[in-house]
Amino acid sequence: MIEEPSATLPSGATAALAPPRAASSRRTGLAETRLSGFLLVLALLALWEASARLGWTGSTNWPPFTAVLRAAVLGLGSGELLAPLGGTLARTLAGFVAGGLFGIVAGLLLGASPLAARAFNPVVEVLRPIPIPAIVPPLILFLGLGDELKIFVTAFGTFFPVLVNTFGGTRDVGTTLLQTAATFRVGRLATLAYVILPASLPSILSGLRVGLGLALVITITAEMIAGAGGLGYFIVQTQYAMRPADMYAAVLCLAAVGYLLNRCFLGVEARLIAWHGAGHRDP
C-alpha cells in the first residue's frame, strides 16, 4: 500500500482543502444509486403485496405488506413494539461499545507487540468462527438469562471483527510514518497513540462497521433463544401466537434500525476520517 504520508496523517490542511470537491462529485453519484436502489425496494414491496393478496404462496404466514405496515404503526403507537425495540437497541449498543473498545485495545496491543501477536493469534483464530447460537445455552450456566448474557454475546461477536481489522490496520501503517516518529524520538506509547492509532483509524472504523451490523444480529439471535424482552423474543412470540403481520412488523423495524445505525455510523466515520475519505473516494 503506497501512500503519501500527508494523505494518511490527519492533517487539518488537507482535510480543509479536499471536502468541497469531494462532496459535490459524491452527491450526484449517490443520488443516482440511491434512486435506483429505492425503486428496486418499491418493486419488491409491490411484489410482496401482490403475492400475498393473490395468494401465490398459499400460506397464512405471508401477510400483505400493507397489513405489516399497519401492524408496525399500531405496535409502535401502543408501545407493544416500541418497548422491545428500545430494549434491543440498548443491548446492541452496550455490547457493541464493550466489544468495540476491547477489540481496539487488543488489536493495538497485538499490533504493537509481535510477541503478543504470535501468542494470541491462534486463540483468536479458534474463537472467532464460533457461532453465537451454539454458545448461548452453555453460557446460560454462567450468565443466566438476563441482559448480561445478551450483552456478553453481542460484545463477543463485535470484538473479533474489530480486533482483526485494528490489528490489520496497525500492520499497514507505513514504515515512513514509523521511521519519522522514531527520528523525532517519539516514545513507544506516544507512537501508538499519535501515529499508529490515527493511521489505522480507517481500518478500525471498517471493523467497527462490520461489528455494528453483527451486534444487532447477535442481540436478536440471543433474545430469540433466551429470556423475555427485545425484538428477538417478540418475533418468536408472535410466530407462536400466529400473528405473522406483527412478526413482520418487528422485522421491518429491525431493517429500519439496521439501516439507521449504519447511516449514523457512516456520518460519524465521515467526520472522524474525512481526510481518508477525501483521499480515497475521489475519482
Binding site: N61, P137, I140, F142, I225, G227, V236, Q239, M242
Partner: protein, 331 residues
C-alpha cells in the same frame, strides 16, 4: 474510626425510624405485612397452552395466597430451561419428561417437582401427525422413505414420533426426521418439504382447518395413553434448601389445575390463555382442552424412560424415585 463515623448517622436514623416504620407496618393492611415475608420464585415458562394451569394459579392469586411471589421468564424449553435451573438463574423451569430424564441420566441434579401436562387416553389429542389427505399416508410403514417433521430432534415429539412409526409397522430408521419449528410446519407441508408433520395445537387446528390435510396418527395416545408429558423441574439441591417454597408451589399449582379442570370451556379460561400466549381468544375458546394432571405418575415416567432406551436416547433404565419429587406423585 472512619467506619464509626460512617455508621453513626445510620444508627441514629434507624433508631428514630424504627418506631415510625413499626407503626406504619401495624397500621397498613395485613396484606402489606405479608408481602414482607413473601418468597420469590424465578420460574422459566413455555407460554403454550400446556402451561395454562400455572397461569390460572398466577392470575387468580393462588401463588400469592401461598406466600409466593412468582417472577416468570419465558423459555423455549428444556435446552434453555435446564441450564438456567442448574446455574440458579431460574429456581423452577417448565420442561418435559424426556428432557428431565435425559438431564438426570447425564448426571445433572434435575428432578421433576410438579406436573404440568398429561395426554388424555380418549378424545382427539392436541398433538397429532398430519399429512396431505391425498398422499395416501396412513401408518408408519407408509412413512418409510419419507420425511417427518418434529419441533426438536432427540426430544419428546421425536421420541413418540419414532415410537409411533415402529408401532404402526414402520422402521423409524427408514424415516427421515427433520427439525421444523411449529409455526413453519404447515408451510413445510404445503411446500412439500416434508411428507408429514407431528404438530400440536393451535398449529394442529390451523392445519386441520384446511381440507387438504388430515390427522394420520396420535403418537402419544397410540404409543402410551396417559403419558405424563410436561413437568416443572428444579434441582434437588434447591428442593432440599427450600422445601416450604416447593411445597407451596405445588399446592398453588394444584389449585390452578383444579380451577382449570372445572372451567375448561369457559371464556374466563380462554381470556387467561390468550393473555399470556397472545393467541386470539376466539381460537382458544374453540379448543377442546384436556384435563390438567394433579400428580406425576412414576409408572408413566418409567414407560417413557423405557421408550427412550428403545429409541437409543438412554443406555440404562432410570430410577423414577430419583427424578421425581415424591410429594408430586401423591394426591
Amino acid at each position: 474510626m472512619t467506619v464509626h463515623t460512617f455508621r453513626e448517622p445510620l444508627m441514629l436514623m434507624r433508631r428514630t425510624c424504627r418506631p415510625l416504620l413499626l407503626a406504619a407496618v401495624l397500621l397498613a393492611a395485613p396484606g402489606l405485612a405479608r408481602a414482607a415475608d413473601m418468597k420469590t420464585l424465578h420460574v422459566g415458562m413455555i407460554p403454550t397452552i400446556d402451561s395454562a394451569p400455572f397461569y390460572v394459579a398466577l392470575d387468580r392469586g393462588y401463588f400469592k395466597a401461598e406466600g409466593l411471589q412468582i417472577d416468570t421468564t419465558p423459555t423455549t424449553g428444556g435446552a434453555v430451561g435446564i441450564p438456567a435451573v442448574v446455574s440458579g438463574a431460574l429456581d423452577i423451569a417448565a420442561g418435559n419428561s424426556v428432557s428431565t430424564i435425559l438431564a438426570a441420566a447425564r448426571g445433572l441434579d434435575i428432578i421433576a417437582v410438579a406436573p404440568a401436562s398429561k395426554i388424555r387416553a380418549h378424545d382427539p389429542d392436541l398433538a397429532a401427525i398430519v399429512a396431505p389427505a391425498a398422499a395416501g399416508i396412513h401408518t408408519g410403514a407408509d412413512l418409510q422413505g419419507k420425511t417427518l417433521a418434529v419441533n426438536t430432534r432427540a426430544n419428546v415429539l421425536w421420541l413418540y414420533g419414532r415410537a409411533w412409526v415402529r408401532k404402526t409397522g414402520g422402521d423409524p430408521a427408514k424415516v427421515t426426521i427433520k427439525e421444523v419449528p411449529f409455526p413453519q410446519m404447515l408451510d413445510a407441508l404445503k411446500g412439500h418439504q416434508v411428507d408429514a408433520a407431528f404438530m400440536v395445537s393451535p398449529f394442529l387446528d390451523a392445519a386441520l382447518a384446511d381440507p387438504a390435510f388430515r390427522r394420520i396418527g396420535e403418537p402419544y395416545q397410540q404409543v402410551q395413553p396417559g403419558v405424563d408429558v410436561g413437568q416443572y423441574e428444579a434441582t434437588s439441591a434447591f428442593v432440599r434448601a427450600h422445601p416450604e417454597e416447593i411445597a407451596a408451589f405445588l399446592r398453588a399449582l394444584r389449585k390452578g389445575a383444579a380451577w382449570f379442570n372445572a372451567n375448561r370451556k369457559t371464556p374466563e379460561l380462554a381470556q387467561i390463555i390468550a393473555g399470556y400466549s397472545h393467541l386470539p381468544a376466539a381460537l382458544v375458546q374453540k379448543m377442546d382442552l384436556p384435563e390438567a394432571p394433579m400428580t406425576i405418575d412414576p409408572a408413566e415416567i418409567i414407560k417413557t424412560a423405557a421408550l427412550m432406551q428403545q429409541e437409543g436416547l438412554l443406555t440404562a433404565p432410570i430410577d423414577p424415585a430419583k427424578v421425581v419429587y415424591p410429594p408430586a406423585t401423591r394426591p
